[in-house]
Symmetry: C2
Subunit: 113 residues, 2 copies
DNA sequence: TGTTGACTTGAACAAATGTTCATGTTATAA
DNA sequence: TTATAACATGAACATTTGTTCAAGTCAACA
């Protein structure tokens, strides 16, 4: 019955694996946003955004609330910010690695064989 | 030409969004492993694992090398470990949140309305 | 009570991912 | 030189996700 932890982890990361959802989390980690504010920043149809928000809600990463006619979203867990930063660091490291590698391949005369 | 950063981020997270790939990264963040060692730990067909390893290679998260007839995999970037830890923390927070919530829903007599 | 703005939902279709199977490669041992 | 162990790859099919469209809710407002 209790699903293995690595399944939960995988699902968690999959939830982050969508451009619009990432952008939502980044925006929300700055401050709460109403849906129409998100729509101004993210080029996507309202209905599509709604689906993506639903996905984030399902995995418990964000929460909804209503304030005078608008629906406001917030990150449910403050650590989301840390995660996004950790990811940024790795991503940068990987990109640098690849740049170095292709520089070595592209200009092999630089040093040794 | 330069793909937006949030696309790269999404792809990065998607790469982590698979049970077998997560397990591989966790095992590799302890120490290097040969493919057959990974196979002992992860219940998956060799060919499937190979595909998943290829995916991890493509995004530059792991690297391959050969040592006496075996293929050894290593994490390419040491920070992977940090990321997995950060994810663990969030995941736990989210799970706790949900547990609290369902406890409140399930046993509403505990305190206030 | 009827609109309108702000969102959500469901269902259908499209696109991306995952799994398997058959075949290929590489290095070592017989 | 041919077996064999240890992996990788490609292609076909299955499954999951994503996107769109049409319709629905909800709350203020006219």
């Amino acid at each position: 019955m209790t699903r293995p932890l690595y399944e939960a982890k995988a699902e968690f990361f999959r939830t982050l694996g969508h451009p619009a959802r990432i952008r939502v989390l980044e925006l929300l980690s700055e401050r709460d946003h109403a849906v129409h504010e998100l729509l101004e920043q993210i080029e996507i149809e309202p209905s599509n955004l709604s689906h993506q928000l639903a996905a984030l809600r399902r995995t418990g990463l964000v929460t909804q609330s209503r304030r005078d006619g608008q629906v406001i979203y917030s990150v449910a867990v403050p650590e989301v910010r840390d995660l996004l930063m950790a990811a940024r660091v790795i991503l940068q490291a990987v990109i640098d690695d690849q740049a170095t590698l292709s520089a070595e391949l592209g200009a092999p005369a630089t040093s040794e064989s």
